[in-house]
Amino acid sequence: MALTPKERMAIPRQQMPEREPEERNQDFKEVNLGFDESIAKLEADRCLQCKNSKCVPGCPVGIDIPAFLERISAGDLKGAAEILLDANALPGITGRVCPQEEQCEKVCIRAKGKNGEPVAVGHLERYVADWARENLDIKTLLADPTGIKIAIVGSGPAGLTCAGELAKKGHDATIFEALHKPGGVLTYGIPEFRLPNKIIESEVDRLREMGVKIICNVVIGRTFTIDELLDEEGFQAVFVANGAGLPIFMNIPGENLKGVYSANEYLTRSNLMGAYEFPKMDTPIIKGKHVVVIGGGNVAMDSVRTAKRLGAEEATLVYRRSRKEMPARDEEIHHAEEEGIIFKLLCNPIRYLGAEDGWVKGVECIQMELGEPDDSGRRRPIPIEGSEFIIDCDVAIPAIGTRANPLLSQATPDLKLNRWGYIEADENGMTSKEGVWAGGDIIRGAATVILAMGDGKQSAAEIDKWVREKAGLQPVG
């Protein structure tokens, strides 16, 4: 007995069960507990099953959202998982980290109106993905092996997705990863309390079962060049997904004081190297009592919440615009507030102050006001003269963005870059160099997990076409 639209409209948006803020800000276990069966079904029932569903084009990989939600309502989780996995290889990850409020949920019909609240597509995605991981033995159907070798540079979401898609099409895909562990930002950047490593590991294991090879400790540009992969190592094509991992510093005085970390270093020490468990783990990290993080994106939120968990009495976020302009996911900002993070909005650092012993002891900031909108459409922050003030700290973490890392491109001079150093690629990911595609942050600048995955998928389709044509093979479905 299907529900009437009116009955569906009457169901309020279900809340994600979370751990208590005072408890969770003491450890690195996941904050969100996940829906249970009854909440999930109730939430899925809220979907109006729109004919011309707006949510689907809102998703960069085009998941058939109404069909997927309908299967949850019907109690067919296996069916739901199949629909999900058909379009999205890493739903346990995107369900947790997609900025849904800017994508599928933003355009959901139920988000309209003053009190409108979208269907919680992301939370349901996470629910189904977790269920599938525990309960399904997902055997992906693989095309007949082609014997064609394709190399993928980087094991972030773009690289993982591309490798999985190529394996499905029967190709012999090898990922080369510079670090000792696969996952890219998912592993070294995003903390456990938001995205547990075991979820990434299980996704990576699934790819391995499909025949994808992952070789760590290989830096393309140093261990091999792209030309060597193509000319000597027998790869027919290369997909470059090395991310945009070069930290930007502000070039203000005192940045090289001890206790000033790039967000990348701070998060890498904590997540990849497990420094939050020092001395059980060998890698140390400075646990500040007063930690200041500069920025308003996901990276800044992750850093400041990590600082709190490492025992900071005061963990302060300094951001030059207002809360409304913060680029971080809504949920992260909300969680940070609940966890006792201090927000210093409309202010910007101008220099770090150091003590005699070389340690940072404070950040001098200046108050800002918002002027006219700039290129990004957000109102431009303007410093208010004479409003300088000092925040005491013993650790300071600029988290103001990253750029393209030139390591690979310097070793590949015929790969065309744009003026910011990102690789130039057409809408299919094809670069200026024959046989080389690229996707993810290295073509977009710091973007999102799901956009990186979309690029990986798109390029895999193009690479498949290209290598099959070259080898005189029939195209597959």
């Binding site: 140093r222 261990t223 510093f249 060998d282 140390p284 070389g358």
Partner: protein, 283 residues
Amino acid sequence: MFRILDTKQLASDVKWFRLEAPLVAKHREPGQFVIIRLDETGERIPLTMADADKERGTIELIVKAIGKTTMTLFTKEAGDTIADVMGPLGMPTEIEEVEHAVLVGGGVGTAVIYPLAKALRDKGCFVSSITGGRTKELVVLEEELKQVSDAVYATTDDGSYGFKGTVADKLVELINDKERPIGAIYCAGPVPMMKAIAELTRPFGIKTIVSLNPIMVDGTGMCGGCRVTIDGKTKFACVDGPEFDGHLVDYDELADRLTAYREQEQQSLKLMEHKRKLEQVRK
């Protein structure tokens, strides 16, 4: 997993290793390093490759045991494995074709100059190597250096062996020897030593290249932990270096940044000692 094939103890706290790392060996050039991680709980630490054999797919490391990771590595023998070896990293040394090149190594810095001596000699330079220590025990690699240098000078601060004085004192003698003018100096060792050498050569305008040793994590330019100030500008030593023009380095900042984890390093060491003692008692 990367297998250790061969080891040799060179001094009480210095050990040489040959290990299997074919991909790294294939592209390694003098001046480059690897980052290793011993096991799942281990730290990532940078070590210079003293040599590599492309055909056999092996690389060589010379390690001075100073903290938890290097001391643990010190206990490894042929047949043992290392979880991760990544590289080659860093810019290869720019080998200057000069008539006379002088290499100055202090402590384990000698491991860094050893491959340079070899490369410079292959280019036809006359190579003088100075290796120094406080006492005889601390002079390392003298024998090895002899095989790749035209002249080798060992120095000790206390005169217990070779020339009495610092490596800088010896270098002054070589600079003053007008018979054989020096075209370039390569120097690796403790920060104060590199600083002293750079200050010494500055007035003579002799090109002086130093190999810096900041704390590193990834080694690919991703973390910025290895940042050093060169000519007032921030550089990442793992990708822009580790070798820089010695006359442009902010040594005081480097020395200071190297102390950032002193407390934690001590804590790690104590814990290791404690575990070792417990094991002895159990036995």
